[in-house]
Symmetry: C2
Subunit: 137 residues, 2 copies
DNA sequence: GTATCTGCAAAAGATTTGCAGCAAG
DNA sequence: CTTGCTGCAAATCTTTTGCAGATAC
């Protein structure tokens, strides 16, 4: 399965890339290189630079997406056509997933107005969760 | 003017902070610490760490906002209640400013659904501008 | 005077890179 | 075999920090 993805993109089908892809598939959410490193370690140990290089290659080939969040770290995940955004509590870091992405309509309007071919967006909400609002009183 | 802002927040009214604020006001868009450093240099030279420390303090006091973009750098700007987002060409880096922020309504809905007090969001669009689409053909 | 600010140089954290050896096709 | 992949260590880039001296109030 991971094999086909790699072959299709003229990439060598190495064990390490397979394991990276299988971890991304298994967890199915955006992960940092460090998290991927931890999760792959028990399966097949590899150096962190291999992970960075693999992720870079895979994101060039549009197999994974890379997105930099407000913590300054890069998060990688398998390219998905139905994507989601997050609402993050700035106090306790609790996260709520926003299922419906509200931007598709807006992107169409932007394409019409600007002539850009829009390829993506990044969107994240910040706030304080009900719990932390309580505690701060 | 800058003086009042600082006084109001119990911050010492130093020449360097004044200059940082005046540059942020003058350019009135999000800038990196490095850009601020370059712009303040002719006016009053200071070390980069002073700039980082001042920006950190000012953002704690909600005088400036900090936002990390997809280039991995932190951008600072004076807190504004009417804010804007950007559409960035991933080939030539040309930028289009999106005047109307389409998220206010959505934020109200999220507040109702989650009980979060929403304090902000980050949103950026990526795409390929008409020029670069031409060239790639 | 004293709490706060600043400069400098060093440290930190995430990511990238040069090079020599290794493995997939 | 030969092109592309990997490990290691060193380099890079942005940002943070410890400490000693300087400045605002």
């Amino acid at each position: 399965m991971e094999e086909n993805l790699l072959k299709a993109m003229d990439l060598k089908n190495t064990k390490k890339r397979q394991v990276i892809l299988s971890v991304l598939k298994q967890y199915n959410h955006a992960m940092t290189a460090e998290e991927i490193y931890e999760k792959t370690k028990p399966l097949l140990s590899m150096s962190v630079s291999t992970i960075y290089r693999a992720l870079h290659t895979l994101s060039d080939k549009n197999i994974v997406t890379k997105s930099i969040r407000q913590d300054g770290k890069a998060y990688y995940q398998l390219l998905q056509h139905t994507h989601k955004h997050r609402l993050v509590c700035t106090v306790c870091q609790q996260i709520i997933i926003i299922d419906h992405c509200p931007l598709e309509e807006l992107e169409q309007r932007l394409t019409a107005q600007t002539g850009y071919e829009i390829t993506g967006h990044s969107l994240e909400f910040f706030g304080i969760c009900p719990n932390c609002i309580q505690k701060e009183k």
